[in-house]
C-alpha cells in the first residue's frame, strides 16, 4: 500500500516535504500499524502513539484530508495513495508531532473540574441514573484534538475561541447535577469569541473518533444561556 507522509525536522530541513513509503498491508491492519511499519523503514520518522485502542488519544493525525485517530482507522477504509499529515493549524514540532499547548490551555480555561459549594456528604453525592445519563456523550472525550484542529473558527482565533473540545468539557460540567458553579461557568463563556465564534460548521462532529457531538454541546450551552437571559 502506498503512503505519502509529511516530513519535517527543524534541525535538518529548511521546509517540510512529502515522502513516499510502500507498506505491506495485512488483513485488519490499522493506520497506526502502517505508521509503525514506516518507522521501521526509517527510524527518524516521528509520531505520537500509545494505547493502540482509541482511548489514550495520542495518535490523532490528518489522513486523506480528515482528522482521525490512527490506531482505530482501518487501512481498508483509506484510499490510496494514503496521505498522512500532522493536524492542521498547529505548529509542527517534527513530522506528525504538533505543539498542542494552545489546545490544552483552552481546556484549562473552562475550569474543567467539578465544583461543589455545599459541604460534602460522608458517602457519595447522590445522582439519579437519569441525571447521570446527561453526562453520556460528554465525559468520554479523550482530548485527542481531532475536533478542535479541524475547526476553522479555532484555526483563525485559537487564542480567543475556546474550540469544540474545551466547550464540550464546559458542557460536561454544566450537565453534571453535582456541579454547583453553573452561573460562573456561563458567565465566563460570554462575549463574542469564547463560545459564540462557533458557526456550526460541524467539522468537529465529523472528526470526533469517539462519536461525540461538540456542536450539539455548544448548542446546549447557548440554549441554557438564552433560557437564563429570559
Amino acid at each position: 500500500m502506498k503512503f505519502s507522509v509529511y516530513r519535517y525536522n527543524p534541525e535538518t530541513d529548511s521546509e517540510p516535504y512529502m515522502q513516499a513509503f510502500d507498506i505491506e498491508a495485512r488483513q485488519g491492519m490499522m493506520l497506526r500499524d502502517a505508521l509503525m511499519a514506516i518507522q521501521e523503514q526509517d527510524e527518524s520518522f516521528t509520531f505520537r502513539h500509545s494505547c493502540g485502542e482509541g482511548v489514550c488519544g495520542s495518535d490523532g493525525v490528518n489522513v486523506n484530508g480528515s482528522n482521525k485517530l490512527a490506531c482505530i482507522t482501518p487501512l481498508s477504509e483509506l484510499k490510496e495513495t494514503v496521505e498522512v499529515r500532522p493536524f492542521p493549524g498547529r505548529p509542527v514540532i517534527r513530522d506528525l508531532v504538533v505543539d498542542m499547548s494552545q489546545f490544552y490551555a483552552q481546556y484549562k480555561q473552562v475550569d474543567p473540574w467539578l465544583i461543589r459549594k455545599e459541604p460534602l456528604p460522608e458517602q457519595e453525592i447522590l445522582q439519579s441514573p437519569e441525571e447521570r445519563d446527561k453526562l453520556d456523550g460528554l465525559y468520554e472525550c479523550i482530548m485527542c484534538g481531532c475536533c478542535s484542529t479541524s475547526c476553522p473558527s479555532f484555526w483563525w482565533n485559537p487564542d480567543k475561541f475556546l474550540g469544540p473540545q474545551a466547550l464540550l468539557s464546559a458542557c460536561r460540567f454544566l450537565a453534571d447535577s453535582r456541579d454547583q458553579a453553573s452561573e460562573e461557568r456561563l458567565n465566563s463563556l460570554e462575549g463574542p469569541y469564547k463560545l459564540f465564534r462557533c458557526h456550526t460548521i460541524m467539522n468537529c462532529v465529523e472528526a470526533c473518533p469517539k462519536g461525540l457531538n461538540p456542536t450539539k454541546a455548544i448548542g446546549h450551552i447557548k440554549a441554557i444561556m438564552l433560557k437564563d437571559a429570559i
Binding site: 525536522n9 527543524p10 534541525e11 535538518t12 485488519g28 518507522q39 521501521e40 527510524e43 527518524s44 516521528t46 509520531f47 505520537r48 502513539h49 500509545s50 494505547c51 493502540g52 485502542e53 482509541g54 482511548v55 489514550c56 488519544g57 495520542s58 482505530i72 482501518p74 514540532i93 517534527r94 513530522d95 508531532v97 498542542m100 490544552y104 484549562k108 475550569d111 474543567p112 473540574w113 467539578l114 461543589r116 460534602l120 460522608e122 458517602q123 457519595e124 453525592i125 447522590l126 445522582q127 439519579s128 441514573p129 441525571e131 447521570r132 453526562l135 465525559y139 468520554e140 479523550i142 482530548m143 453534571d176 453535582r178
Partner: protein, 586 residues
C-alpha cells in the same frame, strides 16, 4: 553546556492514577511538586482500565471490607502481605467516595448510589455467594478516574513536566535518592530535577511480552531505574495474563463482560469453565480462567481455522445492557475483531496484562531495600501503583484491585511525603559522579555507525519473553529463556540509532525503553526460573502444587550478578486475625 537543574520538594515520576492521586494530596498541601510524564497525563495507561475499582460499599449486595480482604488474600494465593491488604480494603471505601466527590462520573443505581458490578474472585461472607464490589463508570472507569484526577490537579496547580522522559534516579554515596535525570523529549535537552523525596509511579511493563493489553509506553521504566540504582524488585515472576484479550491482537475485553453475564465457550459450544471452577465458573480468578483457556486450546477444543482461541459469548444479553454497561467493549470488538457482540461471540485468548511484582514497599509506600524481614525503609523514596509491590496482589491480582491499589497507595504515599518533607526540610548535596554516570548512559546513544536496530532487538526480545515466560512454565524452557534474554542484554551494546537529532527523537526514547524492558524482562525470567512451585499466575507443570513450606516467601531480584534473595510474607494483618493458607478452589 551546563546541565540545567531545578529543585522541588517532591518529584513524582509518572502521571497515571497513582502519580496523580499522590500529586493531588501534595499540591493541596501547598508543597512544591513536580510530576514528570513521558506522555501528556491523560495518555497514561490508567486511561485504558475498563471494568472498575473494588470497594465494599454494599450498594448492590451485602458487603464489607473484611470479605474483600479475604478474597484478596485468597486471590493472591496467600503470597500477599495481609497488613497491606487490610489497609487497602479498608481505605477502598473512603477512597472511592473521595473520587466521586472529585467528580468521577460513576454509573448509578436507581437510588442514586454508585453502580457496582460482579467481578472475578469476589465473594460474600468469606467464600460464599458472588459479591458485587466493582464500582464502575460504564466500561470506561479508568478513563473517568484519570481525567478527573488530572482535572483536580489542574485546579490544584500541580507543576507538570509533560513529555519528559525519566532516564535515571540520582543517588548519593549513602544510597539516598536525590531526584532524577530527565530528558525533555521535544528538545532532547537533559534536566536534573533535585527533590527531597521521590515517588516512582511509572506503571507496568506489559510491553516485555509480544501479545499484551498494555500500551506502547508500558516499558517498566521505573522498575529498571530501581534496578540500576542497586535496589531490588520483588515477586517479578508473577505476571498476570488476562483471560480475555482479543485473539491474536491482545486488546483487553474487560472481566466486566463476564460480570454482566457473558461466558466462555469452546469449539463445541461447551461452557468449559464449569469443569475448571464449578462454583465461580467464568468469574473464577484470572489465573484460573487464563489457564483453562490455554488448556482448552492445547487439547484441541479451540475455535477458528487455527483452533487457537475460544469465544466469549455475550449475545444472550439484552442489547440495552450491552449499550449501557459495555459500550466501549462493543466498539472495540467491532473495530479490532470485526464482531458486534450483540450478534456474535468475541474471539478471545489470554494477553499479558499486569505485573504483580515490582519495587518492594511497606504498607506506607516506602521503598524497602533489603530482604531483612525487620529491615528499614530507604528514607525519602516511595513507590506506588503497578511499578510497586506493597504486596497486595501476591501471586495473582483480582480484577478491580488494580485501580484500587494505585489510588489507595498513591494517596497514602502523598500523605506520607507531606510528613517526611516537614521533618526533612532541606535538599541533600548532589553527588556529581552519579550525575555523570547517568549522563554517560544517555550519551551512549550518540555513538554512530552500523549496528542492530532498536526495533529488531525489541522484536526478538518480546518474542523470547512470550515463548519462555508465558502462562505455563517448565524448567528447560525457562532456563533457555534466561540464557536468551542474557544474550539479548549483551546485544544491546551493538544497537545503534540512525537518528541522532535532538528534536522529538522517538528513536532515542525507544532505545532507552528497550534497555528498561530488557532489564525488567531478565528479572521476570530469573525470578520465575527459581520458583519451583505453582502459585497464582506462576504455573509450573513440573511443580504443579503450591508448596507453602518451602515457597511461601517473596522473591527479591538484584541486577548485579542476577542475585536472588527471599523474604517472609507478612501474614499478620493490622486489626483482624490472619487468614491462614488454604487450598484455593473457585
Amino acid at each position: 553546556m551546563a546541565l540545567e537543574k531545578q529543585r522541588f520538594d517532591t518529584l513524582i515520576l509518572g502521571a497515571g492514577g497513582a502519580g496523580l492521586n499522590a500529586a493531588l494530596q501534595l499540591a493541596n498541601a501547598n508543597l512544591k511538586v513536580a510530576v514528570v510524564s513521558k506522555v501528556f497525563p491523560t495518555r497514561s495507561h490508567t486511561v485504558a482500565a475498563q471494568g472498575g475499582v473494588n470497594a465494599a460499599l454494599a450498594n448492590v449486595l451485602p458487603d464489607n471490607w473484611h470479605w474483600h480482604m479475604f478474597d484478596t488474600v485468597k486471590g493472591s494465593d496467600y503470597l500477599g502481605d495481609q497488613d497491606a491488604i487490610e489497609y487497602m480494603c479498608r481505605e477502598a471505601i473512603p477512597t472511592v467516595y473521595e473520587l466521586e466527590h472529585n467528580g468521577v462520573p460513576f454509573s448509578r443505581l436507581d437510588n442514586g448510589k454508585i453502580y457496582q458490578r460482579a467481578f472475578g474472585g469476589q465473594s460474600q461472607n468469606f467464600g460464599g455467594d458472588q459479591a458485587a464490589r466493582t464500582c464502575a463508570a460504564a466500561d470506561r472507569t479508568g478513563h473517568a478516574i484519570l481525567h478527573t484526577l488530572y482535572q483536580q490537579n489542574i485546579r490544584a496547580k500541580t507543576h507538570f513536566f509533560d513529555e519528559y522522559f525519566a532516564a535515571d534516579l540520582i543517588q548519593d554515596q549513602e544510597g539516598i535518592i536525590l531526584g532524577a535525570l530527565v530528558l525533555d523529549i521535544a528538545t532532547g535537552k537533559p534536566l536534573l530535577i533535585e527533590a527531597k523525596t521521590t515517588l516512582l509511579a511509572t506503571g507496568g511493563c506489559g510491553q516485555v511480552f509480544r501479545t499484551t493489553s498494555n500500551a506502547h509506553i508500558n516499558t517498566g521504566d521505573g522498575k529498571a531505574m530501581i534496578l540500576r540504582a542497586g535496589l531490588p524488585l520483588m515477586d517479578m515472576e508473577f505476571f498476570q495474563f488476562h483471560p480475555t484479550g482479543i485473539a491474536g491482537k491482545g486488546m483487553l475485553i474487560t472481566e466486566g463482560v463476564r460480570g454482566e453475564g457473558g461466558y466462555l465457550i469452546n469449539k463445541d459450544g461447551e461452557r468449559f469453565m464449569e469443569k475448571y471452577a464449578p462454583n465461580a465458573k467464568d468469574l473464577a480468578s484470572r489465573d484460573v480462567v487464563a489457564r483453562s483457556i490455554v488448556t482448552e486450546v492445547r487439547e484441541g477444543r479451540g475455535c477458528g481455522p487455527e483452533a487457537d482461541h475460544v469465544m466469549l459469548k455475550v449475545n444472550h444479553l439484552d442489547e440495552a445492557v450491552i449499550a449501557k454497561r459495555l459500550p466501549g467493549i462493543r466498539e472495540s470488538s467491532k473495530i479490532f475483531a470485526g464482531v458486534d457482540p450483540v450478534k456474535d461471540p468475541i474471539p478471545v485468548f489470554p494477553t499479558a496484562h499486569y505485573v504483580m511484582g515490582g519495587i518492594p514497599t511497606d504498607r506506607f509506600g516506602r521503598v524497602m531495600p533489603t530482604s531483612d524481614d525487620d529491615g528499614d525503609h530507604l528514607p525519602g523514596l516511595y513507590a506506588a501503583g503497578e511499578c510497586a509491590c506493597a504486596s497486595v496482589h501476591g501471586a495473582n491480582r483480582l480484577g478491580g484491585n488494580s485501580l484500587l491499589d494505585i489510588l489507595v497507595f498513591g494517596r497514602l504515599a502523598g500523605k506520607n511525603i507531606i510528613d517526611y518533607v516537614k521533618d526533612n526540610p532541606s535538599h541533600r548535596p548532589l553527588d556529581e559522579a552519579n550525575v555523570e554516570w547517568a549522563m554517560g548512559r544517555l550519551g551512549r546513544w550518540d555513538t554512530k555507525g552500523e549496528g542492530i536496530t532498536v526495533s529488531d532487538l525489541r522484536k526478538e526480545f518480546r518474542k523470547t519473553m512470550e515463548d519462555h515466560a508465558g502462562v505455563f512454565r517448565v524448567e528447560d524452557m525457562m532456563q533457555e529463556g534466561v540464557e536468551k534474554v542474557r544474550a539479548i542484554r549483551e546485544k544491546l551494546a551493538d544497537v545503534r540509532l540512525t537518528d541522532h537529532s535532538s528534536t522529538f527523537n522517538t528513536n532515542r526514547t525507544e532505545a532507552l525503553e528497550l534497555e528498561n524492558m530488557i532489564d525488567v524482562g531478565l528479572s521476570i525470567a530469573t525470578s520465575a526460573l527459581h520458583r519451583k512451585e505453582s502459585r497464582g499466575a506462576h504455573s509450573r507443570p513440573d511443580y504443579p502444587k503450591r508448596d507453602d513450606a518451602k515457597w511461601m516467601k517473596h522473591t527479591l531480584y538484584w541486577q548485579e550478578g542476577d542475585k536472588l534473595e527471599y523474604k517472609g510474607v507478612r501474614s499478620q494483618p493490622l486489626t483482624v486475625e490472619s487468614f491462614p493458607p488454604k487450598e484455593r478452589v473457585y
